[in-house]
Subunit: 336 residues, 4 copies
Amino acid sequence: MIIQLEPNISAAQKESVLLELKNRKLKIVDVKTQINQYLVAIGKVDFDLRQVGHLEGIRDLHVVTDAYQLVSKKWKTSPSQINLGDGVVIGEGSLSLMAGPCSIEDESKTETVAKFLSEQGVKIMRGGVFKPRSSPYAFRGLGVDGLKMFYKVCRKYGIKIISEVMQVSQIAEMYDYVDVFQVGARNTQNFNLLDELGKVDKPVLIKRGISGSVDELLQSAEYVFSGGNEKLILCERGIRTYETSSRNTLDLNSVPILKEKSHLPVIVDPSHGIGIREFVEPMSLAAVAAGADGIIFEIHDEPEKAASDGAQTLNFEEAAQLVKRVRSLYDLRTSW
Amino acid sequence: MIIQLEPNISAAQKESVLLELKNRKLKIVDVKTQINQYLVAIGKVDFDLRQVGHLEGIRDLHVVTDAYQLVSKKWKTSPSQINLGDGVVIGEGSLSLMAGPCSIEDESKTETVAKFLSEQGVKIMRGGVFKPRSSPYAFRGLGVDGLKMFYKVCRKYGIKIISEVMQVSQIAEMYDYVDVFQVGARNTQNFNLLDELGKVDKPVLIKRGISGSVDELLQSAEYVFSGGNEKLILCERGIRTYETSSRNTLDLNSVPILKEKSHLPVIVDPSHGIGIREFVEPMSLAAVAAGADGIIFEIHDEPEKAASDGAQTLNFEEAAQLVKRVRSLYDLRTSW
Amino acid sequence: MIIQLEPNISAAQKESVLLELKNRKLKIVDVKTQINQYLVAIGKVDFDLRQVGHLEGIRDLHVVTDAYQLVSKKWKTSPSQINLGDGVVIGEGSLSLMAGPCSIEDESKTETVAKFLSEQGVKIMRGGVFKPRSSPYAFRGLGVDGLKMFYKVCRKYGIKIISEVMQVSQIAEMYDYVDVFQVGARNTQNFNLLDELGKVDKPVLIKRGISGSVDELLQSAEYVFSGGNEKLILCERGIRTYETSSRNTLDLNSVPILKEKSHLPVIVDPSHGIGIREFVEPMSLAAVAAGADGIIFEIHDEPEKAASDGAQTLNFEEAAQLVKRVRSLYDLRTSW
Amino acid sequence: MIIQLEPNISAAQKESVLLELKNRKLKIVDVKTQINQYLVAIGKVDFDLRQVGHLEGIRDLHVVTDAYQLVSKKWKTSPSQINLGDGVVIGEGSLSLMAGPCSIEDESKTETVAKFLSEQGVKIMRGGVFKPRSSPYAFRGLGVDGLKMFYKVCRKYGIKIISEVMQVSQIAEMYDYVDVFQVGARNTQNFNLLDELGKVDKPVLIKRGISGSVDELLQSAEYVFSGGNEKLILCERGIRTYETSSRNTLDLNSVPILKEKSHLPVIVDPSHGIGIREFVEPMSLAAVAAGADGIIFEIHDEPEKAASDGAQTLNFEEAAQLVKRVRSLYDLRTSW
């Protein structure tokens, strides 16, 4: 059960609410986000809601039967939007495009991409400086210094940054230089990381786990939300199956399902989702047709020379066509 | 290696070609379809192709390194079209819509659906009379009598029929009353059935197996083609994964991949692919955006009363909206 | 609900039982196997069982809530045994070993294997003459002539035969020359084949589907049993997963689960289950430790020259060691 | 390529070796573990090994073509053993049994279990104080205070402790109170955690990921080893598949495969692997039959009251029987 509190609830009022809930043997989680104040009450709700609902300081009260609560659409039926400032908003009402190289490389390459994105009207650049790699001997990214350079370049072009955070200690290091923290597929259930991201006031995009379920993704988002951060974005990036003709199996079923279960924006990563350069465009179109709020994809001015993921990375010509087409498809979809 | 023969090749010419191939230790499969004559030569091609290619009676000769040969796009780069007559063509250049109930029920219900489809300009009706069911105690369909009734109704409305064939003996029984034989996901690797369908001159739509790979689907199509029937349609219908929030995991990655690997038309079944009625439309749109040549989906005038699959079946209002939208999306896609 | 009838129930008595059941809106399937007579009543059982149970001609009556009925352990708690004659029994109380080549080859090779098995006290020889192959161009087996030769050789050595049947028409062709019909993993849900095998009085071993669930395997067995043949054996052979270091993922969890859910014997196929020759022995031992009633595995006098599946086929020395070890492990297990 | 250095290699000698390697464009990782000193050289080895091998200070030199190096059996063919002191050794030559509750609860319960284990001769107790939970609202364990109590109890009974570490900051907190750090299935690819565990001199048991491959498990172990800690144990605990009749699909194929690919000990967790209490024993037996070096399983004096995982937890009577039987099976296996 979610109890949304009035912003000006007094300490005494809150105390009474807590008392009433505890008397009913509910476990209470006190959640104060950047935007609102909530109490999440876990346990059996077998009493008349009005017994609690009439108390002063309560704005609203909803019973949610899902394992996840605050991210559920059952209590918040209007879609959430994440405002990055400067008119860049993620969620219902806009198509968010995020593009960039798999790994951030040198400044000149970074600038080439940022300039291209700026010309295309793409407002968010992706790029990893901490890279999760199966092998300890593979390239692991430029680290914070790379991020600072990435930040400088992007600010010059008025572009927002999304970059992956892999561990708790990186949150503070990265904080000043990112607009959106990305949680990668291998960290979707890194609960300590999620807990800490709950304390941050910057948006977090959470990728679905390598073989994560839709419900697990929502519960991971619930970690961050209940920790105090409701600026959340969900991301479908393909799951692991027996099929070997594509890198992953992009599960676009998850798009309408997530949009039905949650009020959070849903973004799709077709680059990892199929892993084959020439098919990133059709899968991007499919994602937008299925109802995605945006896509995040890999580009590079010379994909064949990219430090990682070249086989799924678009060049500028391909990217420009993709951007044009997904926009016209989005326009069609929103005209209905 | 595929050797396409001239239609008027003489017996003596063919004998010379076969001799040349056998001398090179190739295993030869002689394929005569409704349309063309081929020799498929299996084995190592380590000689100069011109040694064979100059022989009389040969139109063309292609080395294909895939496990599948005749269905490969490597030798036939132009997309194949399947003509059902009366202007109904499946494949490049048209968007094929196939709709109908999971199981054919009584005549009045069948007519209601056929009439609706006719009003919507949908030219192909689906409906099972032989139903593969996990349990021996479940409803197994009306059988051939149901098919005859189904046929009569469809002819009245000028609509073509696609219906599932489950075993060899049903091919002859069904032959006069179907326009397209459907091979279901549980029979994708029923090789005897595929062999027999190779001898038929009516089109065959093959669904991807329950957990079939893209390559297995192509090899199953190769069975039918090499058996003599090149009127083939491939169908993505979702695969089995660990995810439980949808009935199957619709693998739309397979659409551009199949279109790249094969010249055959690719149809998507969003009804089985997601299994949730309200999401059949977004997945249909996604399928068309990904490049599908058509969709096959379940409708019923009263889905809640359907004999099977009600939970994924659209009512007429939903279906009319879906048809309108996929058509406008297809128009957009083909305008690029 | 399963109603086991007395063998000497009169027509009139049976009529009364049927009437009582139909009055309660149950759908009745009349099952007469080689051994017993049953009525399977499908539908809601919301009445006092004694209202039916007291009728004459009924031996016993059980409510089974599983989707499968006759194969359930809920009504038949003692394990079933399949007697092949000459002292060869499959099921509780004996460890069944079945071995042989993937495909039957020439008579001399067949005899070499049969002789070896006979020396080892292995009483059942496996070998395919109809081979399901993904590609239409691969070797498809010797057919019925090969089976006749196989039969002749086995009878000479007093060995029983298990061989795969792929389609309905092969049942009659094979009938005189097999002791056990094998349904392969691609045919586990070939329901027409299962229906026909229900009419046969010879045992049937059903392999779990390529990505079949435990419950689907039981329901496939239910098809055969409800068709009239209760001489059934279940076989775990590995499932399809994302893991590529082995051919399939042998799911030994299914062994205790199947033994708990069903009274039928459970055999394991470690050759297909792991697909790597040197690990067939440890997986055989694991299968027996998990409670399997036997194993079926591939051997060849020269595995590297086998017509198919050489990479997972044991030579005689390896096979002899395996046989010795699984027997001593079985002895240990049954001593507890 | 792995270059094992002499323990007394001089700085100058090492410099020469490094120079030779760098001249050949190899990337060098300098690894100093508790036991040995290595250089791992990544890159193409296309020169005569003797050109490097003759240098002073080199003990041995091996080319390993796997993605993992130091954990590979290709350079270290003898099995590794992990000595916990007091005669408790994990690996070839002993059967390691680790048992305990899912979560550590109060002192009295902990003592009851420790006493039972001590009576059974089980030398290692498992128990979580940091619990990874899908939902933020679930019980997350007692934390370090619980661990201190757990430690005190175990020392009293002469029992070693294995407990899960979830994040970098917990390593130092836990260090004094554990004998083996456990990396859970959700953290198998938490590379920062693995890096830090490489700096520790206590053993680490790494569970296979929720849907991790065998090769990924080995590469995760490579992270720890190349970080400086070669006291490593691999653990199979079941993978995520479509099958729902068990909690996970215990992949015992991985046991002989891991033992062939790596010199590290392999332990199996049948409790998570099947998730059904009455089948933990057969799967434990199967694991040992397949070649496992030990098992880790959940026990509780009152499983139905356990704080978590009660459905897969054995009571003492069941555990005592399991211990007895796996030991006799292990004796049989090692007698061959």
